[in-house]
Amino acid sequence: MKNKWNGLANYIGTFAALIILCAALSIASPNFLDKTNLMSILKQTSFNALLSTGMLLTLITAGIDLSVGATATFGACVAGAMVRLGVHNPIVLFFSVLAVSGTIGLINGLLLTRLHLPHPFVSTLGMKNVLWGAALIITASQMISFSNTGAEGIMLLGSATILGGFPISFLVVLFIYILMHILLTRTALGRSIYCAGGNMEATRLSGIHAENVLTFCYIMSGLMAGFAGIVSIGRSGICNGANAIQPYDTDAIAACIIGGASFMGGKGTMVGTMLGALIIAVLRNGFTLLSVPSAWQNLVLGLVIIGAVLLDVTRERMQRNKRQKEAGQEKGGEKA
């Protein structure tokens, strides 16, 4: 029970930050709390939230996936290239994108676990460039539009709404987040993922096949990026290989870190990541409403990331000091 309260306490700071941010923006911009705008924020959150899901899994294992943004763009370009070749069935396109993105994740995982590249930073950075080039090659460096091609079905995930404007993309995100939360907290595989991030050697010695666990995380990361790619097709109606170099990965990392994940591994939750993704989307949406130049947006977002990590580190240090103090008192009591 105590652990549960501790866990909730971890979210309170992030949640409070989100509420304060919303309150400040609703004062600054009368349109902020408008229903349509709130729905827009959810739409804008979906892409980053999906990328963050995969990113979180890799961060928990003390790894990283710098290719998530490029995988999403490449996935969208695969769909675009297929449309050009005459494939218009949305289901075929949907599963092709997921198959391709899952395979990219598998390759990332195998590079790390079977070919023993020193750190996923290297392999996924390389993969990002590979995908950037490949996306441009398969689209012949051209932007491809999905409108009026007969493949409009593929755009539904990113554009359709229900119940008077609620985006389906965010519903899918919620569904995925709930599933992933259950996976991480209620299953043996989830515990193995946290274990692998905390101490790889201990994980191996306790009989867990750490390599398979890591590979699973990178496959999931690829799949989630594929989902994000399909959402992006729905939102913009186009795909463009040149976007593979956009810093989507840093936004995903920021969402995870704001949500409590750590580069040292073993930490991070789906709830926290969702809050992180929402904070980023609210910040960007609010600043866009207020027509704040992007230079200021980047500056403030950077400060938020630094602030969140600083808060996390300070809280951990205080908890550690408290534990040490308690242990010291107990020891003193025993001696007496």
């Binding site: 349509t36 892409f47 932007m143 409108s147 109606g237 956009q246 960007r284 409403l289």
Partner: protein, 368 residues
């Protein structure tokens, strides 16, 4: 084929420069397709020449020196055996692939000329382009250089003191070493687009003509030029450019959607003109506004006039695009470099024209 030809005309909201080169016979196209209005004309260009003193930018100054009705490369000697280095902003986009195609077409037509085309990996990879230019200038294996600078001032320093012929393409470099600028200026092109957009908005029934720009990367030279051009054009045609509401969307479609959503939130009554930094963004913004009655007649203007934009204009998802003649830029810049190596004196500005010329359309396979 007719569809292709029509789409080019519709997309080509012209270009400027010395009106000149632009054949008066074929010029002044006016086409209306699903609310699309495209305007290309000598009138606008002549006006631009009158205004040249107020523009004050090197590119425009150079344009002013171009003489009307004369092809500066007509009758030039294009023989000899030379190696030309073409360094572009990037080769990884549809627009630049047309410049590459133009340069390579010249090589194909002239077996004695070798053309190497290079480019940075993206239009923000400034260091990469700097390295390419430094390496190639130092290598000394080329007889002439054609450069599309990502940062003109930086390239000006790099080429300082060079003796071999250097031409600027797409974006001018204000340096004595640069013999000629081949292309059009982003600013003047956008200005003409702005004027045409105001006219289109009037025709679409807008009485209060306000415009908001969804720009590219903040601080990027190209984005700034296009932004300033749009503003100047819209204001000179009687529209209101909402400068305080400029949205920077990093030249990406996805972010343009986010910006468009914010614009609709701030302006539920609708906005007459949304002028975007490129065609990707215009198509995405138009898509975001689809279904919003207040934005039914909004003019969504892109930039570049790439093929997919032409299709989007025909489908009605984008209203108009400011087109630059990328293919001709590539072709003419290499031709000019060779002509200069054979002793031809070049004017400071060579107009690359605009994409309504049947010759270009045939080359691209858009018409037979």
């Amino acid at each position: 084929m007719f569809r292709r030809g029509l789409c080019v005309i519709a997309a080509a909201v012209l270009l400027l420069g010395s009106a000149a080169a632009c054949d008066k016979d074929s010029g002044a196209e006016k086409a209306g397709t699903s609310g699309t209005e495209a305007k290309a004309g000598t009138e606008a260009m002549t006006e631009e020449k009158k205004d040249e003193s107020s523009v004050g930018q090197s590119a425009e100054k150079a344009e002013g020196k171009s003489r009307e009705g004369e092809d500066p490369l007509a009758g030039a000697d294009l023989s000899g055996s030379y190696k030309i280095d073409v360094i572009l902003k990037t080769t990884s986009s549809e627009y630049w692939s047309y410049v590459v195609a133009g340069a390579k077409a010249f090589e194909k037509e002239h077996s004695n000329i070798k053309v190497d085309v290079k480019g940075a990996s993206s239009e923000t990879a400034y260091d990469e382009q700097q390295n390419i230019i430094e390496t190639d200038l130092n290598a000394g294996t080329y007889d002439g250089y054609v450069i599309a600078p990502l940062q003109a001032d930086l390239v000006k320093t790099l080429i300082s003191g060079q003796k071999k012929p250097i031409l600027a393409v797409d974006t001018n470099i204000d340096a004595p070493e640069v013999l000629s600028f081949v292309g059009t200026s982003n600013k003047t092109a956008a200005e003409e687009g702005g004027k045409a957009a105001v006219e289109a908005a009037k025709k679409a029934g807008w009485e209060k003509i306000e415009a908001i720009s969804i720009s590219g990367v903040q601080g990027d030279g190209t984005a700034t030029d296009r932004l300033k051009g749009y503003q100047a054009g819209i204001e000179s045609a009687g529209g209101t450019f909402l400068e305080a509401e400029i949205q920077y969307a990093d030249a990406v479609a996805d972010k343009a959607v986010t910006s468009m959503e914010a614009i609709m939130q701030n302006h539920p009554e609708g906005v007459a003109i949304i002028c975007c930094n490129n065609d990707d963004m215009a198509i995405a913004a138009a898509r975001a506004a689809k279904g919003n009655e207040a934005y039914k007649n909004t003019v969504f203007m892109g930039f570049d006039g790439i093929k997919s934009a032409c299709d989007a204009i025909l489908e009605g998802s984008e209203t108009m695009s400011v087109a630059q003649e990328a293919y001709e830029m590539g072709y003419k810049s290499v031709a000019a470099a060779v002509a200069n190596l054979n002793g031809k004196e070049l004017p400071k500005f060579i107009n690359s024209g605009y994409p309504s010329s049947p010759r270009t359309m045939r080359r691209r396979g858009w018409i037979l």
